[in-house]
Amino acid sequence: MRKLLRAVRKYNDTPEAGHGWKRLHIAYLGNVTFDPLPDYVEVAAACRGISTRAYIAGYGQYMQELIADSAALNEFAADFIFINLDLRELAPDIATGFTSLDKQQLQDSRERILSTVRECIRLALAKQQANVIMANFPAPASYQYGIADQKQAYGEGEFYTELNAELRNIAREDARVQVLDVERLAALHGKAAAFSEKLYYLAKIPWQEAFCPLLADQLVRHVEAARGLVKKCLVLDLDNTLWGGVLGESGPHGIKVGHGDGESEAFFDFQRRIIALKNRGILLGICSKNNPEDVQEVFQQRPDMPLSLADFSAVEVSWNMKHENLERIAANLNIGLDSLVYIDDNPAECELIRQMLPDITTVLLPADPAEYPALLDRLHGFDKAVIEEEDRLKTRQYAENASRNAFQAGFDDLTAYFESLQTKVTIRLAGEQDKQRIHQLFAKTNQFNLTTRRYSIADIEGIMATDRYRLYVCAASDRFGDLGKIGVLLLDMQLPEVAVIDSFILSCRAMGRGIETAMMNYIKEHYLANGFLKALTAEFIPTRKNMPAENFYPQQGFTVVESGVESGTRYELRAADARLSDCHWIDVIKQVNT
């Protein structure tokens, strides 16, 4: 571990380490000694390609540093503040004298703890731009009432359950606050092995070193989720992955999935767990060497399988090489290879994918299907900070896109196809209710993203709070269904008579059908045609993935002001030169609030 840490530190000190937004600052505040946790976090983050720096506030100085506006903490400019409060320090009467207190006193004590927590979070949010990750309170491994705790009017177990439920409520009030579930992690690890009385007495270190990797892993999951470092699609093999046995040999009724024997039940449950990922907004794909007809047949003839073909946004069943099929899946879904996770039981296939397509996260299944679900739990990239209705709908929208594509094949003339889609678009200034989705779009959109500025929730709140910016959100629907909120456009109005397009983003599922043009027309109409501004300026900052948007501004009539610079190309459009571009097939619904 120490050698590993030294190697990570050496790399993190180089200028190219985690250039830009992948270099993150994590501050640790609390009434415990955090060492050696920050070291483990640094290594765990490095394993995920994130370079981190740590600031550890003085022991027990969390309030002072927040209230006094500590220069060191401000200068550190934390992206994340991890707060861990230990009740042995914060409420010693609870920690060791639980049975001496009556219910009223216990509840008073709980309120005192919560008001400290609230104050701490409030100060952290107000003084810093950071996200707050608050550790919850692990219940002790044994209770002071012993086995009678369950029968008490207000037992210790109940106390901690209520305390943590209240903490959850506090976190729900602000998108920038996350709860790190130490209670669950400690239970997973075994509480006796997670905590150390000895280290606590000697140095106020609450955790045994052996527990730190798990804790660090969880902290990194929160960081990844908050920064949108997530995977978009899980692609699965079929034989011995979704069911036991080989379909081509055993036939649709011979494969193991469903009820009746343990193995079949394990595959059944694994399929249910995959549906749970789909409900989080993860797209599903199949990549299998099989006869397509056999696969169609098995999904039709085995209604006892939890998954149906409609759950998959991409299906590639053929005898082609698997890496070719995976490339096709990424292309069809319009996502990058590094957004894919591929799961297979065959080591040779996994090795092939690893060599041919190293950007894909390839996962080899363990020999026993009983262990498949635990494997899903260990994977990073499927954790989201919050799961919204949009996520649940998303997989359906991709399926609708598939029928749009099939439908498109029937048209020779693209305009006729666009007209037949009956696209309706609304463009309006963003409100509080759009914040989460806008953050997702900033965090996750790679292709139609002209500047790829990854604004955090705090940044977005800042933007919405000032007059300097106009933040627009665009939603769309068509004859196949609702696409949801798919576009964001941010105007910087700081200069007189000229507005700068700071960000222009369109989700890849809405690209290439004129919605981006409708958004641009809207801005031209509202800012240039009426003489409100003299000109618009914009820039295109190239990344590995946003080439599809490279020629957008020239297509919209912008002229190049400066190109070849490292930061990209700068464009301008004078009011006198502004013309609306044709996208007559899009119906822009008038909104009252703009």
């Binding site: 120490r2 000697l202 140095a203």
Partner: protein, 77 residues
Amino acid sequence: MNEEKLKQLVSEVLDIQESVVTRDLTSDMAETWDSLAHLRLVTAIEQEFSISLTMEEINSMTSYQKMLEYIEKYAAG
């Protein structure tokens, strides 16, 4: 055998040359041997030799000689 392992461990945790780790080494001789490093040493020793030291032993373990003594004591027991 134990001594080899311990020497390596101490040199790694304290970030000092193995040649400096002798039976004469005490905590005030190595600048890197601060209170946190001390606990790292304890944790590493407990893990490596599958022993559990008492708080009193931890507090008095201020030299390489002491470390060896405690390891021998638990190994014998």
